[in-house]
């Protein structure tokens, strides 16, 4: 401590007068504290707004009719979001179910099988997938995926509309980069000696990867999966453009409306209880996201330990 004090004594001989310096020091200290806590303030404000606006709305509609009601008909003041919750959950989990194995395979490819020269470029291509704006995905879905599903629907004698299947395909593509990059990072983080030990025991390279490296990277891969769930459940624009948006019970080839989609679709012309019901949807979504965040936080802490 003494050496630090004497260092401070000499401050004025090197840079200017001491009085103004300590004042600036103190001010900057406070400025940095304020900046640091800005994120905390934002989270608190957001939580408060979500609860105070969504809570009363849900209370007025009634928790059970709101969460479990099957009819969403604002003109009749019926605000049941069960079909949307179901659609969101089905879409999210189907998307994860497809994207997780694909993502892990690509991550293994990038981390273990590609020569170092190419892995950088290939990683860039995957990063590009993450950078494409969600409306562009929506547009691609409208042009490339929806017409194919129309053909399938026509062949089966179903009405040709946007569908749950289209939403799932779009979500798979959108969460792939997240899962790939988190999995790749955690596979690369597994110490090489694990694999070496396995090889020394006589297993092949592939056996070592599948039975040693990937299981050792399990925590990171699970974290990537949870991150993917969060992205999928929160995605609005792209799925809205391909899903057909009818608030009815979901069927694979029928139109569905996801939880997120109601807000941008009806926001502009909603008022009164209708607008409040949208706040209520916001709160439900917020609770989902917070649960996912807390899970993720625990997972990351566990893998750090």
């Amino acid at each position: 401590m003494e050496s630090a004090d004497s260092a401070r004594e000499r401050v004025d001989t090197i840079i200017g007068s001491r009085g103004s310096k300590t004042l600036i020091e103190r001010v900057m200290n406070i400025v940095f504290i304020v900046c640091g806590f800005a994120a905390v303030v934002c989270v608190i404000a957001m939580t408060a707004y979500m609860i105070t606006s969504g809570g009363p709305a849900i209370a007025r509609i009634g928790v059970v009719p709101f969460l479990f009601g099957q009819v969403w008909n604002p003109t009749n003041s019926q605000f049941g979001i069960a079909p949307m919750i179901l659609a969101s959950i089905i879409a999210t989990f189907s998307a994860i179910l497809i994207a997780l194995p694909v993502g892990v395979l690509v991550a293994v490819f990038l981390a273990k099988l590609v020569p170092k020269r190419f892995s950088g470029v290939l990683r860039q291509i995957i990063d590009l997938l993450a950078g494409i704006p969600s409306v562009v995905y929506g547009l691609l879905g409208v042009i490339l995926i929806v017409p194919l599903i129309f053909k399938l629907q026509a062949a089966l004698g179903l009405p040709t509309v946007g569908s749950l299947l289209a939403a799932i395909i779009i979500l798979v593509i959108m969460i792939l980069p997240t899962i790939i990059s988190v999995s790749e990072t955690s596979i690369r983080a597994v110490p090489q000696k694990y694999e070496d030990a396995s090889l020394a025991l006589g297993s092949t390279k592939l056996q070592s990867i599948i039975k040693v490296t990937v299981p050792a990277a399990k925590n990171g891969i699970v974290a990537g999966m949870v991150l993917g769930v969060g992205r999928a459940i929160g995605e609005a624009m792209a799925v809205m453009m391909v899903a057909g948006n009818a608030a009815i019970m979901p069927q694979l080839l029928g139109p569905v409306r996801l939880l997120t989609a109601s807000i941008p679709i009806e926001w502009a012309y909603s008022s009164g209880l209708h607008r409040e019901a949208l706040y209520g949807i916001g709160l439900v979504l917020f609770i989902f996201i917070m649960l996912i965040n807390i899970t993720l936080n625990m997972l990351l802490k566990r893998s750090a330990d």
Binding site: M28, A39, F109, Q124, L128, L129, A236
Partner: protein, 295 residues
């Protein structure tokens, strides 16, 4: 995993027959090739269908219903306004927050709290930022549906990116730099200003580029808080322009594709967006190269 745990993996020594192994390799290579080909195909489709629409008049005029011409200049300007203004807010706060976390914070509990808040913010989907921004900035601050409300909302949205990248940049500055500066008698702020900030400039720049990428692609939140359309050039002085509503490129793309059913113009905008995204990606790659060379 310990040696004991490893040896529990009896499966290691199990024999996988060679054809099986070849099949697994085949699946891995096939899936990876398909995913990579898909990305290239998507970008190809966007550029192939979009670039023919991207002409000088398309980029440099407002839509003209009389002549039936379409131009996206108003939304380009709106996008630039929102990005620059949001960065003016989020860069100082984000870098300051990172400096607090890395250099000033003494309480571990505060650090953990702030990091949890940052992670939470980065996990919140953009549609919820829209709802929150609407309640906070449009209703409570009475800013109306406007560019300034959009700016403030996006500034919060990119805050976690700025904090995280700045923190990484600060961490990569060797401890000896700090000790050197402090040992020469510099005060802490003087050390931060003259030693830490210049040495972490590249990392901070990476954060700025990532933030720009996020904001360029943003649509759901802006649809609620900045709304409007971009039929006209922004009018009045800068303050009036920020106080009026207007859509950015991504929101405009959505409007053309979903509300007006004009996929061709939407592809034109998509091509512009993709070119921006690719350039930003190349820039981060260049910066990452510079960074690793410095180390």
């Amino acid at each position: 995993m310990t040696v004991a745990e490893l040896s529990n993996h009896r499966a290691i020594t199990e024999h996988i027959s060679r054809p099986m192994e070849k099949a697994i390799y085949g699946v891995i290579y096939l899936v990876s090739a398909l995913v990579l080909a898909m990305v290239v195909f998507f970008i190809g489709v966007i550029l192939y269908r979009g670039l023919p629409h991207v002409t000088i008049p398309f980029l440099s005029t407002a839509p003209n219903p009389v002549d039936q011409t379409i131009g996206i200049l108003p939304s380009i300007i709106n996008t630039l306004y929102i990005i620059v203004a949001a960065l003016l807010i989020s860069v100082p706060i984000g870098v300051g927050g990172a400096i607090y976390l890395n250099e000033y914070a003494t309480s571990k509990r505060f650090v953990r709290l702030i990091e949890f808040a940052t992670e939470t913010l980065s996990g919140v989907p953009s549609i919820l930022y829209g709802v929150f921004g609407y309640m906070m900035f449009v209703l409570m601050f009475d800013l109306k549906v406007s560019l300034i409300a959009g700016t403030l909302t996006l500034a919060i949205m990119v805050l976690p990116i700025m904090i995280r990248t700045s923190q990484e940049a600060l961490r990569s500055v060797p401890e000896s730099y700090r000790e050197g500066a402090l040992g020469m008698g510099a005060t802490k702020w003087y050390m931060v200003r003259t030693v830490l900030l210049p040495s972490s400039l590249m990392g901070i720049l990476t954060g700025i580029i990532l933030s720009i990428g996020r904001m360029v692609g943003e649509s759901a939140a802006l649809l609620l808080v900045a709304g409007g359309s971009a039929m006209y050039m922004p009018r009045g002085n800068l303050f009036q322009q920020f106080a009026s509503s207007g859509s950015t490129l991504s929101v405009e793309l959505y409007r053309y594709a979903a509300s007006r059913g004009d996929n061709e113009t939407a592809f034109g905008i998509a091509a512009v967006l993709i070119v921006i995204v690719i350039s930003l990606n190349l820039m981060t790659r260049f910066l990452a190269g510079r960074l690793s060379k410095n180390e």
